[in-house]
């Protein structure tokens, strides 16, 4: 009765590789291999914040995994995130604040979009431009 057709089954992946085995394959934002991030290295003061941040290529990989598992929106999120890895924490917080209701004028949002474009973050720039248009129509600009 239901027009059910054989559907794609979700990729049955093997159990995820424990971190230790994955170490040599993954690099941190700084470029440092994951498996060099040992407790001894931390104690010696050799591990920086950037050594414990995700690399944009890793986020692109996660985006592809999300796409394969029927969630293109999650993939899009990871691709926006990959762009944001290059920004300082303070800039990320600043843009979030600017996008909250009635925090920014239309022009200020346009400026943020241009700023993002200049930092090689076009997907986020497009998101901010889209927000500016809708905020103007819905009275959410400052």
């Amino acid at each position: 009765m239901n027009p059910f057709r054989p559907a794609t089954t979700e990729a049955a992946s093997p159990p995820s590789t424990p971190e230790v085995e994955k170490g040599s394959l993954t690099k941190a934002f700084s470029g440092r291999p994951l498996d060099s991030l040992t407790l001894d290295a931390v104690r010696a003061g050799e591990v920086t914040t950037d050594d414990l941040r995700i690399h944009p290529e890793t986020l692109e990989h996660q985006a592809q995994v999300a796409e394969q598992h029927a969630n293109p929106q999650l993939a899009a999120n990871f691709r926006r995130a990959a762009e944001l890895t290059a920004l300082d924490d303070a800039d990320v917080m600043r843009i979030y604040e600017a996008l909250r209701p009635r925090r920014s004028t239309f022009e200020e949002l346009e400026e943020i979009a241009a700023w993002l474009d200049a930092r090689n973050a076009p997907i986020n720039a497009a998101l901010v431009r889209e927000a500016a248009e809708v905020y103007r129509r819905r009275g959410l600009c400052r």
Binding site: M1, N2, F4, A7, T8, T9, E10, A11, A12, S13, P14, P15, S16, P18, E19, T26, K27, A28, F29, L34, L37, L39, V42, R43, G45, T49, L52, R53, I54, H55, T58, L59, Q62, V65, A66, H69, A70, N71, Q73, L74, A75, N77, F78, R80, E83, L84, T85, V92, M93, Y96, L99, R100, N124, L127, V128, E130, A131, V134, R138, L140
Partner: protein
């Protein structure tokens, strides 16, 4: 007093369920669960691959929620196909286990919010349970717990976080009564969790910007307090828009931090902005938006508004329908059961049970692992007081609700290690000098009421120092390692490294205790009917089954042996008596051999002394014999009566059941019977002796009555009875009766 209600109603009025509020359904206020007459008709019109109408609203009139969903939330390539299904046809796909999860997910991606709400409204409770079993993302169920206290005491937070981790919670959520304490709480709970187990995710629920900052600094490993609302007015009042939330979602991912959003029925009603829509429709907008902004998961099922939903007809069903909606949108579901939705134990259990049975990515989005009064989110539907109930429920139904027994004998050491780890970290950074006395108090505390002193200022000071000094979680790793907490340092470091790998950003990701990621990707739910899907491993099943209260026959035998006494001994074979004043007491085969205490906790010897004293009070002579060839109490009593000079005997089973028998009666007839052994006291046995003697003298005494209790006496004692009977059977042999001697009380060390 014409309007005075009758006693039956007065009695019901006083029941706890009547502390709850129940609302008349009212669509104008949004007090309607599944469908309001003002909910829009589902519609989706596309022009050149662009949504120009969504659920009855034209593009030019889209509010921010419509606009974001239209731009990002729907798979337009399946929209036409999905629209061709009637609501009921789609609903059947949810329930039919022969239709794979992936097919439901594929079609639902093309459903508008109004369409999905209508489909979910068709599912009845058992169908929701079926749909949840099939549609949840992760194969292995899990659970999330709250760890907070009224004082923000870091030592207690750490001890309680370790305890929660030992109970099996894989995500811990803390929050603060004092906002500025947040960094301190985040550190204390993260350290405590690492003491309890590897791979426990931790979050600190505070205002969005501060929560993000805590994440960036590494103090927490996931975020959840990213609230979505179903109407634009309430969304904006919540100080966000779909775009700011989408950006926030990416901000977390850009630092490798797991996050999910929060929504749930009732929030819009409470804020007076439901716009006459049903709770299910508004939540459908939230869930569609969650998918649109790229969140991997949703915490819903009422949450703070759960009791609002529960106040209207079918409201509890609506809460579960929301959860299933999340699963159908291919997202992680953290399925409510957190805010206490009723004062009635029956209602709060009823609210959770179908979800526990179906299994969920997180059955509770906040089981209160601490005392109710210490829960700074407000009391949960389940609290520390209910941990044993939850473990029993899992065991009763043979399902995995995510928890296991934390061994009582090792919990003290675990809590001490957690408190000492935080004490060491706070000393290392000079944040606070928390005393050994405070550690001792936190280890033993039931809750914050048991703490010594008040460190409120030092906590605030520590939190401010953490926030202002630029301290990060890597520094905490160092402090732990340098203070002798290497294993915990490794565990905290492993959580930081997990951010670099990013596998736990995928849908429904948790870590097992070996740091393997279990998610939609690595552990997909493959339920396709009986014999498929999640089954606990043998080891996990043992955790579910082996609750600490379980007793075997051997446990009972050992316990009884510890009470063995020399005050009851065999003097030789029992012979018939001739004295017409002689009343016998016949005891069962295990009495004084393997069983020494009755179900009411009385030593068997004392019971015998009471009966003998009663017999003597009435001028008769008592004698004790053990009947060895039967464990049937009627036959024990009758056999003894046949040996008695008077022809009357008391029969006593070692567990305490007793009767009066006479030699001319059939085995199953008797003169008087005490059947409720667990409630019998010394005076009852004394009276039985008195009455037996009166029967022997030919009198007709007023029969002794069983004491009455309305407690679940059978639940309490039936397992013990089964074991006691097994022991009696083991002692039963085709041998003649023994004559027993009860040592005179004046020579004993009895506890009279």
């Amino acid at each position: 007093m014409a309007d005075r209600r009758v006693g039956r109603i007065r009695d019901l009025d006083a029941r706890r369920v009547n502390l709850d509020g129940f609302a008349v359904e009212n669509a104008d206020l949004g007090l309607v669960a599944l469908r309001s007459p003002y909910d829009p008709e589902p519609s989706l019109r596309l022009v050149d691959g662009r949504v120009v109408e969504l659920d009855g609203v034209a593009e030019a009139d889209f509010d921010t929620i419509d606009a974001f969903i239209a731009a990002h939330g729907l798979d337009l390539s399946v929209a036409e196909e999905a629209t061709a299904f009637s609501d009921v046809e789609l609903a059947r796909l949810f329930v039919d286990f022969a239709v794979p999860r992936a097919e439901v997910v594929r079609l639902v991606a093309g459903c508008t919010p109004a369409k999905l709400a209508r489909v979910l409204a068709l599912l009845r409770p058992a169908e929701l349970t079926m749909a949840m079993t099939k549609l949840r993302a992760r194969r292995t169920p899990s659970n999330q717990g709250h760890v907070t206290n009224r004082a923000d005491d870091p030592l207690l937070l750490a001890a309680d976080a370790a305890t929660a981790a030992a109970y099996g919670f894989r995500e811990l959520e803390t929050t603060v009564p004092v906002l500025a304490d947040a960094p301190s709480n985040a550190v204390a709970v993260s350290v405590g969790a690492a003491v309890g187990a590897a791979g426990v995710l931790v979050q600190c629920s505070v205002e969005e910007a501060l929560e993000l900052e805590l994440g960036l600094r590494g103090f927490v490993s996931y975020a959840e307090t990213v609230s979505l609302y179903g109407t634009e007015g309430v969304f904006t009042d919540g100080d966000d828009t779909p775009w700011s939330k989408a950006f926030l979602t990416s901000a977390y991912a850009s630092r490798g931090i797991k996050m999910r959003v929060s929504s749930g029925a009732g929030a819009e009603v409470l804020m007076g902005g439901a716009e006459r829509r049903s709770m299910l429709y508004l939540e459908s907008r939230c869930v569609s938006l969650a998918r649109a902004i790229g969140a991997q998961g949703v915490q819903n099922g009422g949450i703070d508004g759960a009791s609002v939903a529960a106040a209207v007809p079918a409201g509890v069903r609506e809460l579960m329908a929301e959860n299933v909606m999340v699963m159908a949108r291919n997202l992680e579901a953290c399925t409510g059961n957190d805010a206490l939705m009723s004062e009635s134990d029956v209602r709060r259990t009823s609210r959770t049970l179908p979800i526990l049975l179906a299994g969920s990515d997180f059955v509770c989005s906040g089981f209160g692992t601490i005392q109710r009064y210490d829960n700074m989110f407000g009391p949960s539907n389940w609290n520390a007081e209910d941990l044993d109930d939850w473990l029993a429920l899992q065991r009763d139904w043979g399902v995995d609700g995510g928890l296991k027994t934390a061994p009582p004998e090792s919990l003290g050491a675990l809590r001490r290690r957690a408190a000492e780890a935080v004490q060491a970290v706070y000393r290392w950074f000079g944040l606070a000098d928390l005393s050994d006395e405070s550690v001792d108090a936190a280890v033993d505390a039931v809750g914050s009421k048991d703490l010594v002193g008040d460190d409120a200022l030092s906590v605030l000071n520590a939190a401010r120092t953490i926030r202002e000094s630029g301290l990060s979680m890597v520094d905490v790793v160092t402090a732990l390692a340098e203070s002798g907490f290497e294993e915990e340092a490794e565990r905290v470091l492993a959580m930081l490294k997990a951010r670099v790998v990013g596998d736990y950003l995928q849908t429904a990701a948790i870590f097992d205790s070996s740091m393997n990621v279990l998610s939609l990707v690595t552990d997909p739910n493959d339920y396709a009917g009986p014999g498929t899907g999640y089954e606990p491993s043998e080891a996990r099943q043992a955790e579910i089954d082996d609750i600490r209260q379980a007793r075997s026959v051997e446990d009972l035998r050992a316990e009884q042996a510890s009470w063995a006494s020399s005050e009851l001994s065999v003097v030789g074979p029992a012979l018939p008596g001739t004295d017409p004043r002689e009343v016998l007491v016949g005891v069962s085969p295990a009495t004084g051999r393997e069983i020494w205490r009755t179900l009411s906790g009385l030593p068997v010897v004392d019971v015998l002394r009471e009966i003998l004293a009663g017999i003597e009070e009435e001028g008769c002579v008592g004698r004790v014999v053990r009947i060895n060839d039967t464990l049937d109490l009627g036959m024990v009593g009758l056999s003894a009566a046949r040996l008695a000079g008077s022809g009357v005997a008391v029969g006593l089973q070692a567990k305490g059941t007793a009767l009066i028998h006479r030699r001319d009666l059939p085995p199953l007839a008797n003169l008087e019977l005490y059947s409720v052994a667990p409630a019998l006291e010394r005076s009852h046995y004394r009276l039985l002796g008195v009455n037996a003697a009166r029967h022997a003298r030919g009198a007709t005494p007023e029969p002794a009555k069983n004491p009455y209790t309305d407690e679940a006496i059978e639940a309490r004692y039936h397992t013990a009875v089964v074991s006691l009977v097994a022991v009696e059977r083991g002692c039963c042999a085709p041998l003649g009766p023994d004559e027993l001697k009860v040592t005179d009380e004046s020579f004993s060390t009895g506890d009279n």
